[in-house]
């Protein structure tokens, strides 16, 4: 009984407070123009930086980022998530949305590139991967970095041999996290992911996997195509590209 009445009081209080809270927020001058940007998680640091710079110049704009594996983000858009801009780490996801008519074709463009590397506590060669116990890659079904890694391993002929050692991660940053915490012995990540890490980076032959080009496009049912266009232009501007190269892209 006591719990019930407490609950009732709490609910009533919540009903009174919640809407007034929302109202007071809205009444504060002009409300910002919000755009939602779903982007490959490898872009997170660079894009957050660009977002901050862009919002300084355009104080009325608020960019909400949604970072994740490109495949996961693609599915969210397919299922009707309200997203304004989509940037993926491979052409496959963009192609699939394009094929379903979910992006504005004319806005699709490639804006940066990346490289695949091996990250581990010490530098190693491809042959040395055989001696390891656990190797993390992104889940090839949803994570482009994992797909690139799989292609690379297939092209070098090591895939079958290493298959049982592979640990699939939900996105490329999780691969990095697994290696940093020592839960796996090595992982395949992008060069741009390694800049903040103290681990050793071993480069691999980039002719053995497809070129990593990041496409970007405005989503078809974007409510803010004009602002979205502006931000894409900013990313492609000299300033945007300088920020990207600072984070290891290009």
């Amino acid at each position: 009984m006591k719990i019930k009445s407490l609950l009732t009081i709490f609910l009533i209080a919540a009903m009174i407070v919640a809407p007034s809270g929302c109202l007071s927020e809205k009444s504060n001058e002009t409300k910002p123009v919000e755009i939602t940007f779903s982007a490959a998680i490898s872009l997170s640091d660079a894009l957050k930086d660009m977002g901050t710079e862009f919002q300084k110049k355009n104080p009325e704009v608020k960019i909400n980022f949604n970072f994740g594996a490109s495949g996961t983000l693609e599915k969210q858009i397919e299922q009707g998530a309200s997203v304004d801009i989509f940037a993926s780490a491979s052409q496959l996801e963009m192609e699939s949305l394009d094929g379903k008519g979910l992006i504005i074709k004319s806005t699709r463009t490639n804006f940066t590139r990346n490289k695949l590397v091996i990250i581990a506590p010490s530098r190693l060669t491809i042959e040395e991967l055989k001696t390891l116990d656990k190797i993390a890659i992104g889940d090839p079904k949803t994570v482009p970095a994992g797909r690139y890694a799989q292609t690379f391993l297939e092209n070098t002929g090591f895939f079958e041999m290493l298959k049982s050692k592979l640990i699939f991660a939900e996105n490329v940053r999780q691969v990095l996290d697994y290696v940093e915490r020592g839960e796996v012995d090595a992982g395949f990540v992008y060069f741009s992911d390694t800049l903040k890490s103290n681990l050793s980076v071993s480069s691999i032959n980039d002719s053995l996997y497809p070129p990593i080009l990041y496409p970007i496009a405005i989503v078809n049912d974007s409510q803010q195509p004009a602002i979205s266009r502006q931000f894409i232009d900013y990313i492609q501007s000299n300033e945007g590209q300088t920020i990207l190269s600072k984070y290891g892209f290009g």
Binding site: A69, G71, T72, K75, E78, D133, K134, D139, K141, T142, L166, I167, F168, A169, E170, R181, G182, E183, V184
Partner: protein, 217 residues
Amino acid sequence: MDFSPLVLSLWVSALSTSIIALFGTLIAYVLARKRFFGRTMLDAFTTLPMILPPTVTGYYLIILLGKNGIIGNHIYKLTGWNIMFTWQAAVIAATVVAIPIMIKSAKAAIESVDIEYEKAAFTLGKSEFETFFLVTLPLAKKGLIAGLVLSFARALGEFGATIMIAGNIPGKTSTMSLAIYRAFQSGDDQLATTLVVFLTMVSIGVIYITTRISRTD
């Protein structure tokens, strides 16, 4: 269709339910019948995984059992075995998350057994061990079985802690709940639907069994 998530889930749930049957009942008995310093603490501690978000439980398990974890680093140094990303990790996650349900249910069942019966057994020269198996256990049977069935269901549905310490490795640690998530994310709606229907049927079955048990007097 790949049946490995189904087989793995049943195996993981069955194994964790067995562990729960043993330790859950033991802890419940201690909590119900013993008075000692720290009893309330033990009660609260064993309830915690039921209240905490499974991801928090998973995080604690990583801190404990990860390669550099408080216990995990010793296991690794001694045996060279890292429990992370193995099916055994999935069993641990399912056990930890589901055991509070058994403890709660079994504790209530054991407390409801009239202690006079146990005392009578003691005066007739039976040891506590014998009394437990010959008197307490049969009288608390209903609550214990209900607790086990519910624990099994909870273990079968475990997601958050599992994905954190066991990962989501197809054929190795991808249990049904995880396979649903992976299938849904990668657009394999047919597989997702099949697994969803199966898990729903199992859950309905569990509810049916537990209500039947509580009805039969």
